[in-house]
């Protein structure tokens, strides 16, 4: 049994917010989860302000104690599994682990639990790459491809997922990543097109592009705007537009280069 003081509460909820935001949660949800955690720890007088690039939180306890903290968020990726698990932990906190501000775990154990969620193993790499192939192949079929085109799109999906994983190691920003990714989609599709006769290249390239479309930023932009978070709604919408432009540019440049080369 432990009662968490105001500093520890700030630290833990900042950590919760950081993990959620870095993995692509809507800012509205991050604010809600941070507030929920603070209420569970027995500090209901909390204000959290979250934008896509930073977190501000201020926890107040009566008139005498006040703890404010900010955190800059630099890396952003898409990991919906971590969002789900952190949300589950926070909900467990307010229902089960903490009662009236008295918790069954102390602050180190909470931080260890969050660290465990953060470093938890993903699906193995070969399986993620395999699923990238499935996604791209099935989108090719969905838009009217034949079985042969499915096979080619499957190969393109695998190659592109693999290269995206490798490019991810370089820590480049998401616009450049999508630009290079879509250029690679066109490059692999055109290369395979040389060896495989009688296929239509369009469906294969579209299947590959569907791996990259900014669905998450798009949904987050709308949901943030609708919940009144205009700042992050606008930021996310601009992110989605830029990613779409990057995809179009990448594929366009590669198509043009290929046309100049004479195929």
């Amino acid at each position: 049994m432990a009662v968490l003081d105001i500093k520890e509460t700030t630290r833990i909820s900042l950590e919760i917010g950081r993990i959620l935001l870095e993995n692509g949660a809507t800012t509205n949800r991050v604010e809600l989860m941070m507030r929920k955690a603070c209420i569970a720890f027995g500090h209901p007088d909390t204000h959290a302000y979250v934008t896509p690039t930073g977190i501000f939180i201020s926890v107040q306890n009566g008139d005498d104690e006040l703890s404010t903290s900010i955190r800059r968020i630099e890396s952003r990726r898409i990991d919906l599994g971590k969002i789900t698990r952190v949300s589950k932990l926070v909900n467990d906190m307010s229902k089960d682990i903490c009662q009236d501000g008295v918790c069954r775990l102390n602050s180190d154990e909470f931080l260890a639990e969050l660290g465990r969620i953060e470093t938890e193993k993903n699906w193995p790499l070969w399986f993620q790459v395999f699923c990238g192939g499935i996604t791209s192949g099935c989108f090719c079929l969905l838009f009217g491809g034949s079985w042969l085109e499915f096979a080619v799109a499957y190969g393109v999906g695998i190659l592109v997922s693999l290269s995206l994983q490798l490019l991810g190691l370089l820590q480049i920003n998401s616009f450049l990543l999508n630009l290079v990714g879509s250029a690679l989609v066109v490059f692999f599709a055109k290369t395979l097109d040389i060896w495989v006769p009688r296929i239509k290249i369009d469906n294969i390239i579209i299947g590959g592009i569907m791996l990259l479309v900014p669905g998450l930023s798009f949904v987050n932009a709308i949901r943030d705007t609708m919940s009144g978070d205009l700042v992050s709604g606008t930021a996310r919408a601009v992110e989605a537009i830029f990613i779409a432009v990057a995809i179009a540019t990448g594929s366009g440049v590669m198509l043009k280069l290929w046309a100049l080369w004479g195929h």
């Binding site: 949800r29 789900t84 990238g132 079929l141």
Partner: protein, 151 residues
């Protein structure tokens, strides 16, 4: 031309579901919940095809199928305790206009500005329609919860 509820619709449903299954694994979802995500994605595409067959209106069918899957996500996500936005993100992917984006780009490359601007226009309209459908459902849910808390 396909007809609704025949074998082809079923196959399209399966492909959409499989691709969403792959997408959700790539974004690191785990457990049997990904089957519900896949079902939502398949439902989205099948509803789109069926409404498109009966109404022959592109934007209307996109609006209806997005409404349907957003309601589906709001209900199912709360039942299995997954954040709703995670669910919506995965199930709308089949309708996201990646195809139109590519055709618009291809039009520009080929110097066919009529096709390019037509597809760009369509891209904006489709994105706007999906956005509106998501907005309607999430606002209605907010209102419903507020009413439920009041009474």
């Amino acid at each position: 031309m396909m007809r609704p509820f025949d074998q082809l619709t079923l196959m399209q449903f399966t492909w959409a579901a499989l691709s969403i299954l792959g997408f959700s694994i790539r974004t690191n979802m785990r457990g049997w919940k990904i089957l519900l995500l896949a079902l939502g994605g398949g439902l989205n595409w099948a509803a789109y095809l069926i409404v498109l067959y009966y109404s022959d209106a592109l934007l209307f069918s996109i609006f209806c199928s997005t409404l349907l899957v957003c309601v589906y996500s709001e209900i199912v996500a709360r039942l299995v305790k997954v954040p709703v936005s995670v669910f919506v993100t995965c199930v709308i992917i089949p309708l996201v206009p990646g195809r139109t984006l590519y055709y618009a780009m291809q039009g520009y490359i080929a110097g066919d500005s009529a096709a390019a601007s037509e597809h760009t226009y369509k891209l904006l309209l489709i994105s706007g329609t999906i956005a509106m459908a998501i907005a309607v459902v999430s606002s209605l849910t907010n209102i419903l919860f507020r009413l439920k808390n009041r009474f």
